[in-house]
Point group: C2
Chain length 307, copies 2
């Protein structure tokens, strides 16, 4: 341990990229354990569930859960579970969003989407089963406090359903070809991507010590801003990055006439908006003092990501 | 109160059809409250969720939950919640099973299926959202015992996923046009319909007092036999009843070359098998004494149903 890394005698804190890689590796390994074996009946369904889930995604939601867990000194072995559950929900939503009756996409993270690699019926059941597995996972572990565990299950279910992620997807479908004003676009994204990002942050923090009311409110505020930031950056990247960099079909939003922040406010103003959101998210974390380091770094990472 | 109805001075027990109608009415009213209003954003999704769920179904799983609740003197206001959650899962599975990429059915309970009345993308999101709502509902109520509530959430999630209902549907898809032997057919149905029926029985009983190990085992045995009985009767009806009586397309299994108990063992032997299963289910309930009355009546009802 070098003095430069640990001037106060505390254990050295790994640089952010190392920390992030550690979380991503850990979550990938955890999902490998959580998902039923490809040998278990029904084999084809289980193989397809693994195909859709074990693909080296960015794992942004698990990173948020682990970073939020640092706010409350949450044991990593618990955060791993909630991170896995949130990622299973995210994975299910991608499989269903890619189906022909939805976004009809053939490429995801550089590979054929689940219904292309398998078939539509299997992809439908993969999404359905990944959702069930998320709740089964969260309800199968001992968190030491059953009442809080019920709260976590409620939070995740609410964030996933018609008043959360699935509801946002529904508004998205209805909005194709329509002009949305910024408040409508924000509501759509607050549900479609924001709700699950919010849940990842809250669930990570709930794995540790109790939050004061002020801390809980600050975390809510952070999670809402960070969720919107993630989406605005996504819209910017869909317009500026290549299909190869993204690992999914670029320019898709414009081609399908989906309203985005870029179409609403120009590329330059969308970038300014992203910078504002980042600053608001960071400001909300002030109450947490030094424990906020990872969450701040992760917010910078989300703001600057190129894929 | 007539002496004939209450010879021992206990309150009169309503006849089974009245009791069943009471449960069905109660569950319909509860679902009406549990489902988001059709006015709530996103309106189209919420209207479609209500269309798919509020359709006067037989409510067999809620009936099982209430009848099993009588074994443990479970408060009806709690059983109502678990019955609602199980029925939401069942409803989601019907909406997804009817989709073009699965069974491609246009008629359900005498009305156009959800994707015909709305559209495929909406029907996909309806199923997804009904599943989330089931877990949200079960996690939103105070059951007075959080640890048991977590167990109930785990049971329902397990019964719904790839090692339960969705897994059974996957085996079903793979089996089309193949010859299955009886053990394979039983595994398929133990998952496809049996798992959720098992969960309905267990969850209903878990709303009341604790079960002894012997009682829990007896209830497991009952639930497995009753679930299989339900499926065998379903296969018999698919072969013998009309589309109008069923409210769904009759003769569909034979037309699509799906293996059924009738195709496996002839109509007459399937009827004998159903009678055996009914007797085994009833025998398993002996341990519960008088408290088993409703569950016995319901088993007779399942064996004799004509639709």
């Amino acid at each position: 341990m070098s003095l430069a890394n640990a001037p106060t005698g505390k254990p050295a804190t790994p640089p952010f990229p190392d920390w992030a890689l550690g979380v991503q590796t850990r979550v990938e390994a955890a999902l490998l354990r959580y998902l039923p074996s490809g040998d278990a009946i029904p084999g084809r369904l289980h193989q397809a569930m693994r195909y859709a889930s074990l693909n080296g995604g960015k794992r942004v939601r698990p990173l948020l859960a682990f970073a939020a867990g640092e706010l409350t000194a949450a044991p990593p072995e618990r955060v791993e579970i909630v991170a896995g559950a949130v990622e299973l929900i995210h994975g299910y939503s991608l499989v269903h969003d890619d189906l022909p009756c939805m976004d009809d996409d053939v490429l995801r993270r550089g590979r054929p989407t689940c219904h292309v690699e398998y078939d539509e019926a299997t992809a439908l059941l993969v999404g359905d089963s990944l959702q069930s597995l998320a709740f089964e996972l969260l309800a199968s572990q001992d968190f030491g406090d059953a009442a809080r565990q019920v709260e976590m299950l409620r939070l995740l279910a609410r964030a996933s359903g018609s008043r959360g992620m699935a509801g946002g997807q529904s508004i998205d479908l209805e909005s194709v070809g329509k002009h949305l004003e910024q408040p409508e676009l924000e509501l759509m994204h607050a549900l479609k991507t924001g709700a699950l990002i919010h849940a990842a942050v809250l669930l990570g923090a709930l794995c540790g010590g109790a939050l004061s009311t002020a801390e809980r409110e600050a975390l809510d505020r952070f999670a809402r801003r960070a969720g919107l930031l993630f989406q605005v950056v996504d819209d910017i990247l869909d317009c500026t990055a290549s299909t190869i960099t993204l690992g999914k079909t670029a320019g898709k939003d414009a081609a399908t006439e989906k309203p985005t922040y870029v179409s609403l406010m120009s590329l330059e103003r969308a970038r300014e908006f992203a910078a504002d959101l980042k600053n608001q998210a960071l400001a909300a974390l002030a109450i947490f003092g030094e424990r906020r380091q990872r969450l701040c770094e992760l917010t910078e990472f989300i703001a600057q990501r190129q894929f």
